[in-house]
């Protein structure tokens, strides 16, 4: 990426039906999902029948009855992929109805002008006229959040261009509260809808999907972020 990110994180999120109590540190060790420093440095936030939250040395695991999330905020991001795939190889019968691969990046663009330029290119202000201008012609607001989605309709459902059900969403916002001067926040959500005829898929399919798709997801989403970064230099 042409601008070094100030903050970056990646995650894999699954929706389905989970038993949070399975995801104890000892189970993660026994299944060889968290070994060595990963296991020794686990900090337990909570272990409860409704939710388990663990801090790993490089990220965080949170599982409730409907949602599984493993997030990394330290490179290499491949660790979230390995963690997810191993978990659901060990739990192949788990009902899973959707999986999302996520990349979140905050990067500085050097000036408010460069940041505004990104907003102006992605959402031109001509239509809005006086709504985002003062009487003196000064800027009065701008893009707060923009989501662009790749999807088509297939069999009455949203589908991706690769033919699988789901969508890819790219969200662009000014970075606020994350200590990134003149920052831009970009989030890519690569969502796979795994329902079929009203029935959930399973952990086996989800782990195969994530193992197969992760590298391409990282490459594609970093390319999208890099394209947005390129707008900063055109200010």
């Amino acid at each position: 990426m042409r601008i070094p990110p100030q903050i970056s994180g990646s995650s894999v999120v699954a929706l389905g039906h989970f038993n949070p109590l399975i995801f104890r540190p000892e189970w993660l060790r026994d299944k060889e999902i968290a070994l060595g420093s990963d296991f020794e440095e686990i900090k337990v936030d909570i272990i409860h029948p409704e939710i388990v939250a663990l801090k790993l040395p490089w990220g965080q695991l949170q599982v409730d009855r409907d949602r599984f999330s493993i997030a990394a905020i330290q490179e290499p991001s491949i660790r979230v992929c390995d963690f997810f795939v191993k978990c659901f190889q060990a739990l192949p019968e788990t009902p899973i109805k959707a999986v999302g691969l996520n990349l979140d990046i905050h990067f500085p663009v050097g000036s408010d002008r460069a940041r505004d330029h990104i907003g102006d290119v992605l959402a031109p202000k001509d239509f809005w006229g006086d709504f985002v201008k003062t009487k003196d012609g000064e800027k009065a607001g701008g893009v707060r959040s923009l989501v662009m989605e790749q999807s088509i309709v297939k069999d009455g459902r949203r589908a991706r261009l690769d033919g699988l059900f789901g969508w890819i969403q790219v969200k662009v916002e000014p970075s606020v509260g994350a200590d990134v001067p003149h920052g831009v926040y970009v989030s890519v959500n690569d969502h796979y809808d795994m329902m079929s005829e009203g029935r959930s898929s399973d952990g086996r399919w989800a782990s195969e999907l994530v193992a197969k798709r992760w590298d391409d997801f990282v490459k594609t989403s970093e390319g999208l972020v890099d394209r947005i970064m390129g707008l900063a230099s055109g200010a």
Partner: protein, 208 residues
């Protein structure tokens, strides 16, 4: 099929706005996934447990007003808050390799490397890396054949900028069914290229 503002939507979606993805990172522009901490409201969690156990209208009496009706599924009594001090320093990755361990010496180990930053897919480099670059508790994972990621970058910490190197042994998943099928196919293709198809192979063997 209807097209609205360049976005194709399914008929059933017309009645409501396109919602943001449920599998997206819950963070917004001011947050970082996995950063910060989590507080738990014990009363809400216990009420949740009672609701699940009793599954009766009376259970509504135990839960907080914010949990009732539509909010019930969203409120686990959990508050995610940003840490006062960032737990992870800013890091900039300069280069990343995937490596496979070849030999392990007393101070160094040798490995074959794939330069991921350059977009390579094949092992094109060899290197000797110091064992000291590995976290002590990960030493047991270092065996010939082990796959690891090696990152070089710099980090900002307490106003200082410094180079760092990180070696992470991958906790590799088992082979997926698709990988096994793909390997089988490649083996078949290789066999076919070397010996021809099965029937001609048998004939050749039989003629010897």
């Amino acid at each position: 099929l209807t097209e609205l503002w360049g976005l194709q939507v399914a008929p059933e979606q017309l009645s409501s706005n396109v919602s943001s993805s449920e599998t997206a990172t819950p963070s917004r522009s001011g947050a970082v996934p996995g950063a910060g901490g989590t507080r738990f409201n014990k009363d809400v969690l216990e009420a949740w447990t009672r609701v699940r156990e009793q599954r009766s209208p009376i259970a509504q009496d135990y839960i907080s007003p914010s949990m009732k009706n539509d909010d019930l599924k969203k409120d686990f009594g959990i508050v995610h808050y940003r840490s006062v001090e960032r737990e992870f320093p800013r890091e900039v990755k300069l280069q990343e390799w995937e490596g496979q361990v070849q030999e392990i010496g007393s101070n160094y180990f040798s490995a074959r490397l794939v330069d991921l930053t350059a977009g390579e897919k094949e092992e094109t480099e060899e290197a000797e890396l110091p064992l000291d670059d590995l976290i002590e508790s990960d030493r047991a994972l270092l065996v010939p054949g082990a796959v690891f990621r090696w990152i070089i970058g710099y980090r900002y910490m307490y106003g200082q900028k410094e180079r760092f190197t990180r070696i992470v042994i991958r906790r590799l998943p088992m082979w997926t069914e698709q990988e096994i099928r793909s390997a089988d196919q490649q083996a078949d293709e290789l066999h076919h290229a070397l010996f021809g198809d099965r029937s001609s192979r048998t004939a050749t063997l039989g003629s010897d």
